[in-house]
């Protein structure tokens, strides 16, 4: 009779037992030793409802802190009681949830009933499950419990007909564990469980482990065989080498000596030549002599017969093996030769490639060398071109100037040529070429158009030129010529001293200003040259220092007050570019304004 049916109502004790087990079932997974049983029960109930997808109800249970026993008791009782029709005794249709709950109840109930019936005592032998985790033990126990249930006819009859036989391991695990704490039960269950121990319940991975180990063993065995095979091959190779050696030595010996003397025999034996093989060789040799008559002997047919027999006798198994090896060694020799040829070919190719690489490198070096040579050549060419062009231009200009100033022929020629040569020498580079103004033209440009190419030397030289007594207007004339004025026009302008001087001073001022602004310095040479100009002579420290106009101009340009001696100092000072430039500018302006010239 199924427990819980009208004919077999659950007793209060059993119900209490079920509840007690169920409490353990439901709360077994909540690891909180500080919880009271009631709390633990509530949490268990809460969890159960969560598992049943009843989130709202779970929260209510937890919030109200329902006593689990009460809840469960009601549920269990209801489940048990409603599981059967009071009239027909047939099982009522239940919801999946109810079925699940009922199943849980029945499972735990059945185990407990069995316990009650069996009266198990004692403890489980832990050694049977030693080394396994709690989880594994639990799973094993659950599996055993499942089998236990299945094997028990009474319990089987009590199970619902729709029971699929899949014990909820969660339920059983904790139930069994809880029950196992009962010493009476444990002892009795031990025997049953041990008897039902199923190797299939071993950890699944053990099977995999065994398979792995077996495979490993197989592979290891194969590895051993492979190694042994290699060893065999190695041995075979050694034998072949030995055979080759024997062949060589024997042939060498037999070709030179027909008789094996004691000494030679010792030598041969020291070479490792086996005596059996040696005897066979000797027998062979004799047979050859008998057949061919070489060696000087006269042999009969009987001698030949005997010699042939001797060869056969001497051909021991070892000799046969040696012969095989010799044959093979012949092949090996051929193979070696092939390899050597191949190597030689490869070596030749390698050498060829190496040589090619060398030649390529050489070629690259040659190209680089050529390039360097060409660049030098190019450089020389350019320099030569510059020089040539400059000289040509120089000559042309010189001729023109000389035609205008025949009295200065010597100075013009010498000066222009010298300066052009100097400049060409110092400035023979591509930038100069890009300027397309060489020698004289470049020189000229610097007068009224300062550029970064101008050096201190240039500035000094300009000023020196300006100070030359013979042709102070030279630069101005050049400027005017480049401006497009004709010789006649320039001649007329030159009549206007004021104009010429103004132009000259303006040009000088601009030149020096730009020079200083670009980082150039007004050094002693510059100053000396400046002072040696017709108007420079009149420029003195006193004038500089006392010139109110100059001071005002400098102050205006620099925004700084100028002391009485500061202008002179500034003028001499190196590094105050802005101030010096301003001074020079002011100087130029002052000179013009004052009509110093």
């Amino acid at each position: 009779m199924p427990v819980g049916s009208p004919d077999r109502p659950i007793s209060p004790a059993e119900q209490a037992g079920v509840i007690r087990v169920a409490v353990g079932v439901e709360t077994g997974s909540v690891a909180d030793a500080t919880m009271t049983d009631a709390e633990r029960a509530n949490v268990g109930s809460f969890k159960m409802l969560v598992d049943q997808q009843e989130g709202g109800r779970a929260l209510e249970v937890l919030a109200t802190g329902f006593n689990h026993a009460t809840t469960w008791e009601s549920t269990a009782e209801r489940q048990i009681q409603t599981g059967f029709d009071a009239t027909t005794g047939d099982r009522k249709a239940r919801s999946p949830t109810e079925t699940d709950n009922f199943r849980r109840v029945r499972e735990t109930q059945d185990v407990y009933n069995e316990y009650l019936k069996s009266g198990y005592e004692g403890l489980i032998d832990e050694s049977a499950y030693g080394g396994k985790s709690i989880r594994q033990k639990q799973d094993m126990l659950a599996g055993q419990a499942e089998d236990f249930i299945k094997s028990n006819a009474a319990i089987a009859d009590a199970l619902p007909k729709d029971w699929t036989g899949n014990v909820d391991r969660y339920v059983m695990r904790d139930a069994v564990e809880r029950v196992l704490k009962d010493p009476v039960f444990r002892k009795q269950l031990t025997e049953r469980l041990n008897g039902l121990f199923d190797p299939a319940s071993l950890p699944k991975d053990l099977e995999a482990q065994l398979l792995t180990a077996e495979n490993k063993l197989n592979s290891t065995s194969q590895e051993v065989i492979r190694l042994e095979g290699l060893q065999s091959q190695d041995e075979a190779e050694k034998n072949r080498q030995q055979a080759r050696k024997i062949k060589f030595d024997t042939e060498s010996y037999t070709s030179s000596n027909g008789i094996v003397g004691g000494t030679k025999k010792e030598v041969l034996e020291n070479l490792g030549i086996d005596s059996e093989i040696l005897a066979y060789k000797q027998a062979q040799k004799h047979l050859v002599e008998v057949i061919t008559g070489l060696g000087g002997g006269r042999y009969t047919t009987a001698d030949r017969t005997a010699a042939e027999a001797a060869v056969r006798t001497a051909k021991t198994p070892k000799v046969e093996e040696h012969e095989i090896l010799l044959n093979e060694s012949g092949d090996i020799n051929t193979k070696f030769k092939d390899v050597e040829r191949s190597l030689a070919t490869t070596a030749t190719e390698l050498l060829a490639k190496r040589g090619q690489r060398t030649s390529v490198k050489t070629e690259a070096d040659n190209l680089a060398h050529q390039r360097r040579a060409k660049s030098q050549e190019f450089s020389d060419e350019v320099t030569g071109a510059i020089r040539k062009t400059a000289q040509e231009y120089l000559v042309a200009r010189a001729r023109k100037l000389i035609s205008e100033y025949p009295q200065y022929k010597t100075e013009i020629t010498a000066s222009l040529k010298a300066e052009a040569d100097e400049k060409i020498k110092a400035q023979a580079d591509s930038r100069w070429i890009e300027e397309r103004e060489e020698g004289w033209l470049w020189r000229k440009r610097t007068v009224y158009s300062y550029n970064e190419k101008m050096t201190q030397w240039d500035v000094d030289n300009v000023l020196n030129s300006l100070s030359t007594q013979g042709n102070p207007d030279m630069f101005v004339e050049t400027f005017l010529t480049d401006a497009g004025l004709t010789v006649e026009q320039i001649a007329q302008l030159k009549q206007d001293k004021g104009f010429m001087e103004a132009q000259r001073s303006s040009l000088v001022a601009k030149l020096l200003t730009a020079h200083v602004a670009a980082g150039g310095q007004i050094n002693e040479t510059t100053q000396s040259a400046l002072r040696m100009t017709p108007w420079g002579k009149k420029v003195s420290a006193e004038w500089i220092n006392n010139s109110s106009e100059a001071k005002q101009e400098v102050e205006r340009l620099t925004g700084k007050p100028v002391s009485e001696n500061s202008l002179e100092d500034v003028f001499k000072k190196k590094g105050s570019k802005g101030l010096v430039a301003a001074l020079l500018l002011a100087l130029g302006i002052a000179m013009v304004g004052k009509g110093i010239f």
């Binding site: 919880m35 969560v50 929260l59 937890l62």
Partner: protein, 104 residues
Amino acid sequence: MDVNPDFVVQKKEIELSLARTILTQLESKAITYQQSQEIAKFIVLHINNTSNTQQLLAFLQSLALKWNFFQGIYDLYRLKAGEIVKTHKELEETKEKLSTITNT
């Protein structure tokens, strides 16, 4: 007031998520049993008063502020709620358009 059936389903899912979260915290001993009761009481008290998405969102937000391990649920539902609101809005707009058409 008729409650949107979709909202009812959503609410049940939320309840389950909240319960599971409490269980996880209990099992990991992040909270005590007393605290879990307190939390559950708070939830039961407030969640039953929600009847639409906005109210539920507000509740979840307050819950997350009190117990930050509920933040994930709040964020998730907020994300989903956006879609729900949009869907609902689209539905309303579609209805309006339909009514416009049918009434002309």
